[in-house]
Symmetry: C2
Subunit: 118 residues, 2 copies
DNA sequence: ACAACTCTAACAGGCTTGTGTCAGGGCCGC
DNA sequence: GCGGCCCTGACACAAGCCTGTTAGAGTTGT
């Protein structure tokens, strides 16, 4: 009813090593027997197969999927990213500031930021 | 009204090299002068500063943000990922299939998949 | 009870990322 | 027109990722 790691490996085309790695990335986490053996059920096998398909068809890496997982878990992170992407791409140009002053302003801002960061 | 790359670098704390790299990742793309010089306006400077903050506060890498960008652009990819994550986590256990047969089935499926992949 | 499997932990090689630096050639401001 | 910018492209090197492999100890099925 559940396959051990080597069986799951030959059944899905992953290597046993990679199955452990995939688990460590939090992507497919099999059940464990009393003694700690990994037990892959049909759901996990399906997941492993479709994961493989996902990577191949979209040219994506395991780490990327891991990051996507992180995005769904930490939604503070997700909204921070959303916020950044949606940041006004064309800044409200300060209308009447002379060029030289603007440079100076940027420089000052940076100086202050550095002070804060240190 | 717009800073050159070295000015933008000192204004944001990135190195000039990294500004080019960030641009190559598609994250902050400055305008170009007629001769091809990068021109960073206030919007880009702001974006660079907040990007830096984003990386630091959330322990994220540039490549991760690049991948997030890819997610917003290729929404086929995004929905594929969503689909994978939402795949039934507890498979509908085929009710009356003997265990041995199930293993054999998985093996056969794999064999066919390999045939297709080669 | 013995062979064949599993576990974790670790090291190792190849590939990718992040970052600096340099070279050769063009542009800018004084 | 000259010193100091900027461009692209390339090499270099540390750090990290991916993957295989090995070692030592425990488990399982016949």
């Amino acid at each position: 009813m559940a396959l051990t790691i080597n069986e799951a490996a030959t059944a899905t085309g992953w290597s046993p090593r990679m199955l452990r790695y995939v688990e460590q990335q939090g992507l497919v986490e099999p059940a464990r027997s009393a003694a700690g053996y990994r037990l892959y059920g049909p759901a996990q096998l399906q997941r492993l197969r479709s994961l493989r398909a996902l990577l191949e068809t979209h040219g994506v890496e395991l780490g990327d999927v891991g990051f996507a997982l992180r995005l769904r878990r930490e939604n503070e992170l997700a909204s921070a990213l959303d916020g950044w992407f949606d940041e006004i791409p064309t800044a409200p140009e300060p209308p009447d500031l002379p060029a030289a002053d603007e440079r100076w302003l940027a420089f000052e801002q940076d100086k202050h930021q550095h002070l804060l960061n240190l």
